[in-house]
Amino acid sequence: MTTTPATASTPTPASETDGGVVPSVQIGSYTLESRLIMGTGGITDLAALEKALVQSGTTLTTVAMRRYSPETKTSVFSMLERLGIDVLPNTAGCYTVKDTVLTAELGREALETSLIKVEVIADEHTLLPDVIETLEATEQLADRGFIPLVYTSDDPAAALRLEQAGAAAVMPLGAPIGTGLGILNPHNIELICSRAKVPVVLDAGIGTASEAALAIELGCSAVLVASAVTRAQDPTAMAEAMRLAVAAGFHSARAGRIPRREHALASSPAEGIINPLDTLT
């Protein structure tokens, strides 16, 4: 069976798609046009960030909520607004349900969006999600009318619980934030995708384009990439690579990969070999 995104009601053979266009994904009431969600951290040069964002083709990009400071004037928010990119506030830096809900409310009020990337971390060393706090925060935010996109561990049981608690999308990590270690447990990611009724977005851990393609091949609807682009030697070139990788992953998932085999299977005919092995002896 081919891995078909949850949103494609009637799977279209890849051969009938026009020019490699990747369809949008529905996350709650929000339509995600590009399956490459970008982050904005990890780069100081705003002009370089702008180039990378444009090259990535992203339509949704994360920001953090922080105290206003005078240096904020040429803000990332006004840049995203100018580029026509939707903003996805996150709750990065929150450790508790209370802080998470307040940060989400401030994000909704400041940026006029119900989208929220729910991120409740357990400690500053691993930055791993605290799934127990995350579950409670997700429930409260869903009740308050948010569209929660929930960052979580690569635990299939936790992903299901978050979906039941009201997550509009579950976002398992491939590896810890900023590590670029790729997808450490592809089996778990595939299992999460196969059972989820909401879109799965691979969040955190991606280090290079092939890993973004793999995420989509495993069944993810989208990927979220920050450091892999913003900290690349050439962020703009990596942004383009990510865009192409997401498209490649989508089309290869829909095309249906061959099964893995233990032994070789010749693709050339066995008949008519010019010098069969037995004539050489």
């Binding site: 607004e81 307040l102 401030l106």
Partner: protein, 99 residues
């Protein structure tokens, strides 16, 4: 036309008499506001943007700022009606790069 609010000259009806020049905390920094100052004035002073009474920038566009007073969000629609008192603790937040 929406009247433009200038810092320290709030047109809001000051029915509640409070102590003059309240000392408040904005993002944990001590700030002295003018008598009868509202959240609009505090945001205008912090961001350096001229704001209308409805809390939107006078020059158009979006402000991208939210306010919490004592840990509760003050919706923009209530900024002009929310007067600040001595000892109030405000958080004024915005979007920054991250995630």
């Amino acid at each position: 036309m929406i009247p433009v609010l200038t810092i320290g000259n709030s047109p809001v009806d000051q029915t509640v008499v409070r102590g003059p020049m309240p000392n408040v905390q904005i993002n944990s920094e001590p700030v002295t506001l003018d008598e009868g100052a509202t959240v609009v004035a505090a945001v205008a002073q912090t961001t350096g943007r001229e704001l209308t009474e409805s809390g939107t920038p006078a020059d158009g566009g979006r402000l991208g700022v939210a306010v919490a007073l004592a840990g509760e969000v003050v919706p923009r629609s209530r900024w002009a009606a929310t007067e600040l008192a001595e000892g109030d603790e405000l958080e004024i937040v915005t979007a920054v790069q991250g995630g």
